[in-house]
Amino acid sequence: MKNEFINQINSYLPNVDYCSFRFVSKYTNVLSVTRNVLEPIEIIEDEGLMVTVIHNGGYGYSATSDLTREGILKATEEAKNWSAFTKGNLIHQPTPPADIINNGKYFTHEQDTWAKESNKDKVDYLYEINKALKSKPTISNWGASFRYNKIETLFTDTNGSKFRQNISYILPQLIACAEYKKEIQTRTYGGHAHARQIGYNFIKDSNLIDTATSIANDAIELSMAPNCPSKKCDALIAPDQMILQIHESIGHPLELDRILGDERNYAGSSFVNLDMFGKYKYGSEKLNISFNPEQESELASYNFDDDGTPAQKKYLIQNGLLKKPIGSFYSAQRAEQDYVACSRATSWNRPPIDRMGNINMEPGDTPLSEMIAAIEDGILLETNNSWSIDDYRNKFQFGCEKGTIIKDGEMRGVVKNPNYRGITKDFWHNLAMVGDESSYSILGTANCGKGEPNQTIFVGHATPSCLFKDIDVFGGE
């Protein structure tokens, strides 16, 4: 069926310098039980086609959900018209790729498929989780959900390239809020961090009943806990906060389209400029960051990006030295830089732009217990709940759900509303220890927003726990 479709649309490719057809079919299923009641189930079936034309010095696209022959031909004409209109008015005349992909493929490995269990069985499991979340009377709000997304992409172009990719991911989400004397504290699992390209077995293997009990107990403890103190101290940052730190203060500033100014009206620019690659010390010697689409089961693993660029692991920062931007084939042409396969679109109805894929912190050699033991005065920060950074990706402030005071190498009780702030240029130089494989976690977030027109996309981050020195932490009111 899919081969027939790609062969069929292939025959509609126009006689221009370059044209690609990118068909995307998305299926989404969300099951949520909130306060013991099943919410309306979400089922979304979305498909359409993006036509991109590069011709005679112009560039244009047209996206349509009309997949009839007439619809596709009409969209192709529109893309050609845009290409004619933009000739002479483009900031950069793109040169199409010359390489040919012969029937490329990528499929997420789902050990157990999403459909293996019925909706009823999944909902019953969500009821069980709800029961564990509402373990005590002071839990004021609770809920659990499973999200499944499957994205199939078929690509063909006038070079003769063809590929097919099926990416599917699962995201479990749990929430527990506890109230004590009008103070409400929330603990979650999953939401910002635990999306994976993996089968339904991930849900079953994640031990969500125990997790539910644990976050409910955390929420109750936090609602009665003191505020995080204001001071400068060591910060041991857990993987479910590290991913946000990497995302906002390494991933986004290294996006080449930001450096080239495309995002200045919306998502912002970057303190990084083109002269800094190969010379700038981004952080301490312990900082090693890779663009790694090859990491098994990570959220943004794939073989090709949405321009058809073959994907492979490359280092962006090595031993603290800035090496490469997150720049696609076309952005790299503009900036005369090396590229990575990062041209991605949220769906068929948006054009690809430079995006993070999997941006990972390579593991170090320090066990978690050694990092804790090394702290005289510090705090363990877990699970992001607030993020804010300036439009040049420098001045940041992040908040976490849970803080645990560490004194003389020992955990000494939890604090609520732990926030910390800093400046990217300084922060990564304070990286003192990087956790080993034992704390290395493969995580990912499903909602990264950027672009005009706006797009959200899923990105992966794998990271161990890390220890930073001299961090400015503080609490709430």
């Binding site: 009641v37 099943l38 309306p40 979400e42 089922i43 979304i44 079936e45 979305d46 560039y59 244009g60 696209y61 047209s62 996206a63 349509t64 959900s65 009309d66 997949l67 009839t68 619809g71 529109e78 893309a79 933009t86 008015n89 483009l90 900031i91 909706n119 009823k120 004021s140 709000n141 809020c177 009008k182 103070e183 409400i184 504290q185 080239l260 100014g261 495309d262 200045r264 009206n265 912002g268 054009p351 607030s386 993020w387 804010s388 300036d390 439009d391 420098n394 001045k395 908040g399 509303n417 702030r421 400046i423 005009e452 027109p453 706006n454 797009q455 959200t456 609490g475 709430g476 009111e477």
Partner: protein
Amino acid sequence: MREYFENITKELFKNIKSNELLIINFDAEESKFVRLNKGKIRQAGSVKQISMTLSLSTKDKRNLKSYVRLNGSFERDISTLIKTLNYLRRELPDLPKDPYMMFSTSVHSTEISSEKQSTSDEVILEHILNSATKLDLVGIFSSGSIYTGLANSLGQKNWHEDYSFSFDYSIYNKNNNAIKLNYSSKKWNKEDYDFILNKGIEKLAILSNPEKKITTGEYRVYLEPSALNEIIDMMAWGGFSYKSNKIGTSPLHLLNKKERKLNELISIDENIKDGLSANFNSDGFIKPEEISMIKKGEFRESLTSPRSSLEYSVVHNAASPSEYPCSIDMRAGSISDDKILETIDKGIYISNLWYLNFSDRNNGRMTGLTRFGCFLVENGKLTAPINTMRFDDSVYSMLGDNLIGLTSSRELLIDSGTYEERSTSSARLPGAIVNNFKMTL
């Protein structure tokens, strides 16, 4: 598009059984997007998309819905939709009853349509490109029609069709300082566009003065309507939602519980009558023209969805399931535009705030950054651009005791957001002068 919607819904309702209710929500857009950088085109294209959500319910309170993307061709789409309907029908018996399911049973049909303007996108874009030849201009032009429809098997039909365009952009100087501008309307007028751009160019000239670095501390500030809108937008993250206030995840739950108050100058309505969004919700209920959410600093009425009304046994006001406002209307104050700088005297003029989030949601405390066109004010005059600063302050301070006043003029800000589809949200609000505004980084 209307005819297609009529034909396809009529055919679907022929397939409904006597114990079933079908609600069809329809969304479509035909949009053009042209992205600019440095006054040149970065990406240009069109998007045509049509979708329907079929929501099938039975009299014993079981419900299932499915969102389907469509071609726009009756023959092809009706077969897809009938398959979807049959799938919903097969799955329904296995689902538990939904105690909070509620839909409109009184038939109330409405229709709002606006005509497409006569000026072509090409003419508009030529003018924009010509105006940008000597500017470092970056942003996006979006235009086209947005269609929203609802039909149910009880006979209700609602249709909302609107054409608009938005040019959301910024102009930069050589020091990387910028002024943010927006021209959104239903009808292009090049004089209006030129007026906005020229005002922006004048402001950009002041940004060419050497930057003054300010330090952390408390400042008297003026928040332009677009900056104040960012703060109101954060308050709306559950703040006006009945459910969020009930379960305590609202940043305004202490205001809702009358534990805290805002300044008496603060009155905020949800004003559907003068907004751009459809006046019906996805369950077929017609929204009230106005809802007073905050009046004179006190919480008045939440946005309450039909689901919340059943969960908490209260009357709903046809809010969307998210209970998020889409047409904010904030009362004006008494400070005339020509008195703004004089009232600040010494402080900071903030055109825009950016990337806000909570630092203590329970207490309505938020953080964010200055962005685009922020100036030092000395002796009642704009003197120099300032460095990017982070603020961290509570809404009960900024719009409470520390609020000096609101401007007498207001701006209509049309949301230029295009996630999934072009937004129809808007906000009409004044500017605000605030004392002791806390800059922390």
